[in-house]
Symmetry: C2
Subunit: 180 residues, 2 copies
């Protein structure tokens, strides 16, 4: 991703990300080409490559944006992390199902694995509900344990069509994590 703040560049990037999301509603991600994206936007193909390195790069920038919003909510909300997560999932239902339809939900996990430890390193571990330590293992492992568990439960929830009541899943997850 080229992160220029130039207004023309910002406009192009916005058009391109919008076009990809729009196309993903009708087509499998794997069948969308850079050519189709620029056709949708009316931009020149070269302009695409001025701003992104590939189609995957566009999706990555969309996901980075989405996760950044989530992380802001996580650090600012008075609610616990699980509440914030399930709010986030509820707000992003269509995006989540779009990702799931294309087997791309794992991208959120990869991004969370990068972002969450960064937040945690700037917090007092003893106050962090994601970090009740056992033994002398590095706290990174406990964070990984929690992120993996929570994400995979959400993955299962999306996989089942996001119809199971989130409150129940949230409550059970809370119960599990409390015991650790």
């Amino acid at each position: 991703m080229n992160d220029s703040q130039n207004p023309s560049a910002l406009r192009s990037k916005k058009h391109i990300t919008d076009a990809l999301l729009k196309l993903m509603e009708d087509l499998p991600y794997s069948e969308i080409s850079v050519k189709q994206i620029v056709l949708e936007t009316g931009l020149e193909r070269k302009t695409f490559y001025n701003n992104f390195t590939s189609k995957d790069d566009v999706l990555d920038s969309i996901i980075t944006g989405t996760i950044t919003d989530y992380v802001l909510a996580l650090t600012r909300s008075p609610e616990g992390p699980l509440t914030v997560i399930f709010d986030f999932c509820d707000k992003n239902r269509t995006f989540l199902s779009l990702l799931h339809k294309n087997n791309l939900l794992y991208l959120l996990l990869l991004k969370l694995n990068i972002v969450i430890p960064e937040i945690n390193s700037s917090m007092d571990i003893s106050e962090n509900p994601f970090c009740k330590l056992i033994g002398n293992l590095d706290p990174d492992y406990l964070i990984a344990f929690n992120i993996g568990a929570i994400w995979n439960v959400i993955f299962k929830w999306v996989d089942r069509g996001m119809t199971d009541p989130p409150e129940e899943i949230k409550a059970t997850l809370e119960e599990y994590l409390k015991r650790i």
Copy 2:
């Protein structure tokens, strides 16, 4: 994947998977082309497409083979699942680091999420160490919780260079999972 058992086809498939693994030792996965793979094998490009649909399809078949071995060990070994998993990781160190180098470790998680529930459905849930239920949530969620947690801890272990003693991680994981 074309799953013909014809000896010529089997030979071609073996050459192709071997070639991909060999190339991955020297090149990033994303930079490997189908052209390079067939060049490495000496096969015709068309032969590649007779046996696989794409480069990703080749990797998928390698991973399916690897996971099948693991699942066999899991169902047959007298040891608990965590012991089997850490044996598996130890035996496949080079493959794991190859996947990690290319940000592809998540493929194992996706495959496990398909394969493990299938095993579990043919077992008595009450005897299954991955399935101590709480509340009235579908057991699938608990399986998802455990797979996600374990996989992400292993992911972190690989990420840190597979140098932390596996026994310690295994013991801590066992401790966590026992409490649930």
